[in-house]
């Protein structure tokens, strides 16, 4: 079977601004694919093109084998979309929201009742079918929105920051549900700013300044893409220590975490040696210094920093030549 999403050299230009720049990747069927990137990097533009809402400037993309230029209607029939705002009517009852979306997605008449009951059961809202939607806790609303997005049994589900503002318990339940949905063969394409959520994905793509800068499993990203080693330093004055270390050659990034700092160094041994020396020279006491497993946030931030650095060097080279 072909991949659920196949994108090749996809580009979108607004005036003289390149929002998406020759992006290529593919998403397998049944995969949970996380699409990460800072605000304005090109995430939403890419999703809007894949959903058939926005025409690309150039490049190709197929969703479930359908061409995004010529088969937009077929794509729309076969995908589900849930935004961070949930798009529910607060003054309608739970069941009325489901019926409303059943109409919009044109769920076949003979199937409707069965799908509505399924959505209620999946969301755990069977007892609350008559409740006013606005009165539900955020976690329930989120599951209701998910149920609505799945009424027409889409083969690809797009989730745009689905858990913004949702509490930890509901978030865990939500990800359990997403796992079950993917197990049944639905492809899930999700954007998030939260790295602990990215850990739930099978594969991740990171988009920055319109370009896809890395793609892989969370583990591949941590051990393959990371442009250095993360060293945890316990020091007497972490804020001052971070400022000192940040300007040292071979240090890509330094961030304070309470009483510690996380420093990303290009070379592990040399980095540790240099940090120790610089901090000792400034009379900052170091109680421990050791390499740690990078978090996805470390990977994400470091990749972006080295991208910025490469751009600066490129600009300097161009100016010098």
């Amino acid at each position: 079977m072909e991949d659920a999403v196949v994108v090749k050299d996809l580009t979108r230009v607004f005036g003289d601004f390149v929002a998406v720049d020759r992006v290529s990747f593919s998403v397998k069927r049944g995969e949970i694919f996380g699409f990460l990137g800072p605000n304005g990097a090109g995430k939403s533009t890419t999703i809007r093109m894949l959903n058939g809402i926005l025409m690309p400037t150039s490049g190709q993309a197929h969703v479930l084998g359908f061409d995004i230029y010529t088969q937009v209607d077929r794509i729309k029939e076969n995908i589900g979309y849930m935004s961070q705002k949930f798009s529910l009517y607060d003054d309608l009852k739970v069941i009325e929201n489901i019926e409303f979306y059943g109409g919009i997605y044109q769920v076949a008449k003979q199937k409707r009742q069965q799908r509505y009951e399924w959505a209620l059961r999946m969301a755990g809202l069977t007892d609350k079918r008559e409740a006013i939607t606005g009165a539900l806790a955020v976690g329930w609303k989120q599951r209701l929105a998910l149920g609505c997005a799945l009424l027409h049994e889409p083969q690809v589900l797009f989730l745009d920051e689905p858990t913004s503002g949702v509490d930890p318990k509901s978030r865990r339940d939500f990800w359990d549900l997403i796992g079950e949905i993917a197990d049944r063969g639905t492809t899930v394409f999700v954007t998030t700013h939260y790295m602990d959520e990215a850990e739930h994905c099978d594969r991740l793509g990171l988009i920055y300044r319109a370009r896809l800068i890395t793609i892989g499993t969370p583990e591949e990203l941590k051990y393959g893409s990371m442009p250095g080693t993360v060293v945890e330093v316990e020091a007497s004055d972490p804020v001052r220590a971070a400022d000192l270390v940040r300007n040292v050659n071979g240090v890509l990034e330094a961030a304070v975490f309470g009483a510690n700092l996380h420093v990303v160094v290009r070379d592990k041994k040399e980095g540790i040696r240099t940090i120790s020396r610089v901090l000792a020279g400034a009379a900052i006491e170091v109680t421990s210094i050791r390499p740690i497993e990078p978090s996805l946030e470390d990977v994400f931030v470091s990749l972006i920093r080295s991208e910025d650095l490469a751009d600066e060097n490129g600009a300097r080279d161009a100016a010098g030549s």
Binding site: A137, P168, E199, H200, A242, G258, V301
Partner: protein
């Protein structure tokens, strides 16, 4: 000046039948970053608003920088900077106009204003965007502008209500760098967040649920007090392993990630070796089974599961 930055005793706020804040005892020392973490509806925003002197408590006491929030809310407002979840910006005003507006509001004198303005531009790097409408800024920049406005009158204490909601990791790191710079200048920071991973950036955290403080300590201290052990498993057949582990005795919770499984164990057994043996017998081919440092989210689950 050795009193606490914040001290509350039995603080209560009710909304009709709901007790949003239910007898809160909280101490924040000067010069620390204190994080109030907890789910939506735990009472974080209500607490924040009472401490800012904009919401009157129904019971208990609260002293903020030595001033009483019930008896003297105006005095409290002068000494603190408060950034609400919406950042309190006027979207149809420019960046510079927003800052000026707050300077007027706080009666910042002309001379002082200029110096302060310069300093705020240095750390926020909003300089190039002074003429831009606040409504046209990105999430990360709005957040920085909100912070600049809250700092215009040089407060000793900053109250930040979920400032990093919906902000990407890079902007989030930059924002925290600014907070640590302020801390180095002697500002005390009280910040709320629904994201447990953010708590590790605080000196001390309080975990709040249903209007009550469940615990308050350093992140390390909180982890040490945990009864739950978290064990990470990587294996060839994770989906089968998840189903098996869910039924294993002594396993309180199973969370499946893309390429690994985390289980919570609340007693001595099962341990790493017995889990490994169990999984090997069931042909799930475990590659690695090891105890890992629990996240504060794990701590939250343990605490909120208690009767």
């Amino acid at each position: 000046m050795n009193e606490h930055a914040i001290q509350t005793k039995g603080l209560v706020k009710r909304y009709e039948a709901v007790c949003a804040v239910d007898g809160l005892d909280l101490t924040v020392q000067r010069g620390e970053v204190f994080g109030l973490i907890g789910p939506d509806g735990a009472g974080k925003t209500t607490t924040m608003r009472m401490l800012a002197g904009v919401l009157r408590p129904d019971g208990g006491q609260a002293l903020v920088l030595g001033s009483d929030v019930i008896g003297n809310p105006e005095q409290v407002k002068e000494k603190i900077g408060y950034m609400s979840q919406r950042f309190g910006l006027y979207e149809d005003l420019t960046v510079a106009e927003n800052i000026d507006f707050y300077a007027d509001l706080y009666l910042v004198g002309r001379k002082e204003r200029e110096a302060r303005f310069k300093r705020l531009m240095e750390f926020s790097r909003l300089g190039p965007f002074l003429g831009r409408l606040a409504g046209k800024l990105s999430g990360g920049m709005k957040q920085k502008l909100g912070l600049a406005c809250a700092l215009i009158h040089t407060p000793d204490l900053l109250l930040l209500d979920e400032p990093t909601n919906g902000v990407d990791p890079v902007s989030r790191r930059e924002f925290w760098k600014i907070l640590y710079d302020l801390l180095a200048e002697g500002v005390t920071i009280f910040i709320s967040t629904p994201y447990m991973d953010e708590a590790d950036r605080c000196h001390r955290v309080g975990i709040m649920e249903k209007g009550k403080l469940l615990i308050s300590d350093t992140p390390e201290g909180i982890r040490k007090g945990m009864k739950t052990r978290i064990i990470e498993i990587k294996c060839a057949n994770p989906k089968k392993a998840v189903a098996l582990l869910q039924k294993m005795e002594g396993v309180a919770d199973v969370v499946f990630f893309g390429d690994k499984i985390h289980i919570s164990v609340r007693s001595q057994k099962p341990d790493e070796s017995s889990i490994r043996k169990f999984l090997e017998k069931q042909d799930t081919e475990p590659r690695s089974v090891r105890a890992i440092t629990p996240s504060l989210e794990d701590v939250f689950f343990e605490l909120s599961d208690r009767p």
